[in-house]
Structures are given as C-alpha cells and as structure tokens.
C-alpha cells in the first residue's frame, strides 16, 4: 500500500512536469512579448532590453524552462548586483501588474477558493447522492421523474444566470443575505457562511444534478447485484441491505468523479468567483487573463493543475483503501 502510494506520487510528479512544460511552451509561442508586458505602455527600447536580460528572456527557451523549474524548487533571483530581486521558494515569478510574487498572490486567494469548493462540494454531495438514492429506490415514481428533470435543469443552468437570480432574490429582494465578500472563517464564521452560501448553492446546482443521475444509475445497478439478493436471503433488515450492500458499491464511482471535481475546483471556481466578485484563485486567473499578466496566468495554471493531479493521486489511494481488489493489484 505504501509502495503503491509512492509509485502513484512519482507518476504525479512526472505528469506535473509534463504539464509545466506544455504550459511553458504555450506561453513561449504566444505573440505577446513578456518584456513589453512587464514594462507597460510607454517604454523605451533600452528599458525593454534591460528587462529582457533581467527576466532571462535572452536565453534559449530550454534554459528559461530550466530556470523556471529551478525557481520553483530552489528559488531564484532576477537581475544582478544591487538591483537583484530574490524570489523565494517556490518561485513562480512576479506579477507584471502589481510586482507581487505570484506564489503570494495564489496563497492569499486560496482560502476563498477552498471555502467555495469545499462548502459547495459538501452540499452537492449530500443533495445529489440522497436524491439519486431515493430516485433509484422509487424508480418510475413521480419523485423519480421530478428529481431527474430538476437534475437536468440544474446541470444546464449557466452559473452567471444562477448567480444573478440568487443575488436578486436573496440580497436585493428578500435582503436575507449580504453581497458576498471575502470573509475569513476564523474571523467571523457566520459572516463567512453568509457570504459563501450563494456561491455554494450556485455551484452545487451545477454538480448535484450530475451526482444524482450517476448515483441513481449506480444504485440501480448495484440493487440488481446477486450479493444484494444474498444479503436479503440472510434476513438482514432492509436498511442494512441498502446501506451496506447496495449503496457502498454504488458510491465507488462517485469517489472518483468527486475527487476530480473537487480537485479542479480547489484551483479556483473561475466563473463562480467572477460572478460573485469573490477574490479567489479563479478571479485572479480571470483578471490576469484580462491584463495579459503572463507570470500570473502561468502560475495559476500550474497551481490548478497541481490540485487536479493531487486529487487524482488522492482518488487512487482512497479507491485502494476502499476496494480490496484494487489493493491486491496495487
């Protein structure tokens, strides 16, 4: 099991390297000149040349890539002599816009993204799985049909639309919630929950439908399994049969997609954060794209990819812990 974990982690590192390279290549191929971006509008050719040297843009791309990677694991410094700027580990460069270190920008915004992602995930998991199980148990009933239609509706609602409607109803009309702000959970738990509630609902509506449908399908399949019949033949109470023998296997695929979805969201719920104006990693990415702030875009991309890759490893490990057959193979 430990060996399995180590092997998966090693693979994850390789994948991250590949992503890193691919992202870097994309930026290298982009027409925009990073030195121009770093310098701003009115900029003399000498100044640009100077910046090129400082950022190392005069080196071949492979050397630049090597320096970038080295910066992440060992830190680096830009420029020489008295003007040298050190960039501590893990160095992802500095924002062209604010000159702040990209890593600092990311970690500063991470709590908001994590709050949104984890809260929404808990909500959609609870609602989606429950609805799916009930639908499967009452297949063909009015409830089942209504739930599945609602699920389809939830999936197809655009986030911007849901966000606007929610804000209009809950903030403007009913006045029960404030406009969402970045409130730290540790400072003001109630304010935090109030701010996060609408983003949670918005995201959960998007995902709960998918989870309900998958759960329903998986549950129907596992209800037809022979071992469920065996469980009934033992005389187990129906509740135990359903929970232990039908639901447990049905949840296995849910674990997989849940890990992936959560991983992807931890790296920033881009649209949701923008829609509510919450300063998370997704908002950072959106702003960076609008201002062509290359180091930030690169940093956010890697950061988000890191979460997805880590989520993959976590899913594999959880899967191995839950399924004895996977454990045996790994």
């Amino acid at each position: 099991m430990i060996l399995y974990a180590l092997r998966r982690l090693a693979v994850a590192v390789v994948i991250l390297l590949v992503i890193c390279g691919a992202t870097f290549a994309i930026f290298y191929l982009m027409p925009a000149d990073p030195a121009q971006g770093a310098c701003g509008k009115a900029c003399s050719p000498e100044r640009i040349a100077q910046i090129r040297t400082t950022l190392g843009l005069n080196h071949p791309v492979l050397i630049q890539f090597r320096d970038y990677l080295a910066g992440i694991v060992a830190g680096r410094s830009y420029g020489t002599g008295a003007q040298a700027v050190t960039c501590p580990i893990p160095c992802l460069g500095f924002s062209f816009q604010t000159n702040e270190p990209v890593w600092g920008l990311l970690t500063e915004r991470l709590p908001v993204s994590v709050s949104i992602a984890v809260g929404a995930a808990a909500l959609w998991l609870a609602v989606g799985v429950t609805a799916g199980v009930v639908s499967a148990l009452r297949r063909g009933s009015v409830w089942d049909r209504a739930a599945m239609v609602a699920a389809l509706g939830g999936v197809s609602l655009p986030v911007y639309f849901t966000a606007l409607v929610l804000q209009y109803l809950l903030v403007v009309k009913a006045g029960v919630l404030p406009y969402p702000q970045a409130v730290a959970l540790t400072d003001d738990p109630v304010g935090w929950a109030e701010s996060m509630l609408m983003p949670w609902i918005t995201l959960a509506m998007l995902y709960a439908g998918i989870y309900a449908r998958i759960t329903r399908g998986e549950m129907l399949e596992s209800l037809g399994q022979n071992f469920v019949r065996t469980a009934r033949a033992k005389g187990l109470p129906e509740r135990t049969v359903l929970r232990r023998h039908a639901l447990r296997p049905a949840l296995m695929p849910i674990v997989t997609i849940f890990g992936m979805d959560l991983g992807a969201l931890l790296g920033g719920a881009l649209i949701t954060e923008s829609a509510f104006g919450l300063p998370g990693v997704g908002k950072l990415a959106a702003d960076a794209i609008n201002s062509a702030d290359q180091p930030v875009i690169l940093g956010v991309t890697l950061f988000a990819a890191g979460f997805v890759v880590l989520a993959n490893v976590a899913v594999d490990l959880v899967y191995a812990a839950l399924d004895p057959r996977v454990r045996a193979v790994g």
Binding site: K234, L236, R244, L322
Partner: protein, 280 residues
C-alpha cells in the same frame, strides 16, 4: 411431519410471464428433495417465492406453508425473521453472490448477527468455526480474506457456511454446483451430504443434473412449464417414470454402462401441456 408444503402456487410477473403455474410440492424435515426441469421451467422462481425474495410487483397466489406457518401473504417482517434463520438459500454463481467489499468472515458473521444477539468478536468466532466446518483450511486467516481471493469451490463453501451458520431447518440450493468444475462439484455435493447427515437440515436441491439428484436426493420433483409433472421417491421416478416428460428428460442423460450414442437425444420443448418429443 411436512416441513414445507406448496399448494397450487402460481407466480406471475408484471410482464405477464406466468413462471409458476399451479405447482404442488412437499418436503419433509431432514429430507433432500431434488427439483429438476429444463431451463425456464420455474425452479428458481419457486425457490425465491418460498424465501419471499421475489420482486414486490410479482403476483403470487396459492399456499406456501413452512413449519405450519403460512408464508404467502405474510408480512415482510415475518419473512425476514425466517430468512437466514430457519430457511436459508445458496445460489448458482458464488462469486457474484458475495459482496466484494467485505471479508468473508464479516459476511458470515453478518448473517449470524442478523438473527442472534452477539458481539462482533463472538460472531467472528462463529464465522471462523463455520469456515472450518465447511472444510476451508486455515479458517482463522481465511476469514480475513476477500471473496476475490477464493477459488470458485471455496466461495461456494463460504456461501454454504453463511447459509448454515444458524442451523436452518431448510436449505434451498439453487444449482449450487453449476458454475464449478466437475471435481469441485463432487466435493461440494459431498459436503452437502455430510452436512445434511450431521445437522439434519432438509435440502431443496435445484439442479439440471440427474446424476446429482440420484446421488443426493430422497425425493424428486420434475418441473415443466411451471408445474410439477412428477413427484415421488427418486427410485420410483427414475425406474418407473409416469410422465412422458420425465422419460424424455431421463433419455437425455448419457449412460456409462450403455453403448455410446452418435448424438445424445435432445428434448424438444413442446407446447404447453403436450409431452415432449425425444429425437435421436
């Protein structure tokens, strides 16, 4: 006294299929009743009806009496109390009948704890004892293993251990050896025979295999089209079959002591009610 009496049992699925159609059968305590018949003759449906395991939307009529108690129309609670405790069942495909996510020890202990007050440890010990009883080596260690770590024959032993852990009065075995290879089949049948001698559990043994019936059963029911076309002691039915259908069925069994036929006779499925044709 009769342990299980089935009178005029009919089972109809919502699809309109009448899988069992006026079936009568009888099984005395401690006896082995072989139930034979071609595929689709309603053997499995009958056993599920006795266990109360048919889907809720099936229509069942007639009488099923078990230990004098009426099972048709009994509530789910009453049936659940009997299932696994007084009557137990094992099925054809032993791998798919075990839950891959739990150890076999847990799954046996679970059967015990469904009906008896027992702590985890106590139930676990019983599971180990049962594994030992059905001939699984190193039961202590094997109780902690998962179904995929067992061979087919061992899995069937696990299912038997699970079914017998509360010493039921009736064991329904629905083609318990069909998925197994021949030597393992023989081992499982030996095990059933031995368990029956030791515990006096009555067995309703569903099978395609006339040889199995001859080797293990006291009585036999021949089913065809959802009803019993023949019911009697094995010896009588085998040597003096009354129904043409039974004669046809027996003609399909190759004999070790006879001449080897070019082709085995096959049984043409006749229209309902007609005797089958045997062609060579």
């Amino acid at each position: 006294m009769s342990l299980l009496t089935v009178r005029d049992l009919s089972v109809e699925f919502p699809s309109g299929v009448r899988a069992v159609d006026g079936l009568d059968l009888e099984l005395d305590a401690g006896r082995v009743l072989g139930v034979v018949g071609e595929s689709g003759s309603g053997k499995s449906v009958t056993s599920l009806a006795v266990m109360g395991l048919l889907p809720p939307d099936t229509r069942t009529s007639g009488d099923i009496r078990f230990q004098g108690r009426q099972l048709t129309g009994a509530g789910p609670r009453a049936l659940r109390a009997l299932r696994g405790d007084r009557m137990a069942m094992i099925f054809q495909d032993p791998l798919s009948c075990l839950n891959p996510y739990y150890t076999v020890g847990f799954q046996i202990a679970e059967a015990y704890r469904a009906h008896r007050r027992a702590g985890r440890r106590a139930a676990r010990d019983i599971a180990v004892r049962m594994l030992d009883r059905v001939g699984i080596p190193e039961p202590e260690r094997r109780a902690r293993a998962y179904p995929h770590e067992f061979s087919g024959g061992m899995r069937q032993r696990v299912l038997i251990a699970m079914a017998l852990c509360l010493e039921p009065d009736l064991l329904i075995a629905d083609e318990p050896t069909t998925a197994l290879d021949v030597t393992v089949q023989a081992q499982i049948l030996d095990l059933l025979r031995e368990l029956r001698e030791r515990s006096g559990t009555a067995i309703m043994l569903i099978t395609h295999d006339m040889g199995v019936v001859a080797g293990l059963a006291d009585d036999v029911v021949v089913m065809h089209g959802g009803r019993a076309v023949e019911h009697g002691a094995v010896r009588d039915v085998f040597y003096q079959p009354r129904a043409a259908y039974t004669r046809g069925l027996l003609a399909c069994v190759p004999r070790v002591d006879g001449p080897l036929p070019e082709r085995l006779p096959t049984l043409r499925t006749p229209a309902a009610g007609e005797p089958p044709e045997v062609t060579s």
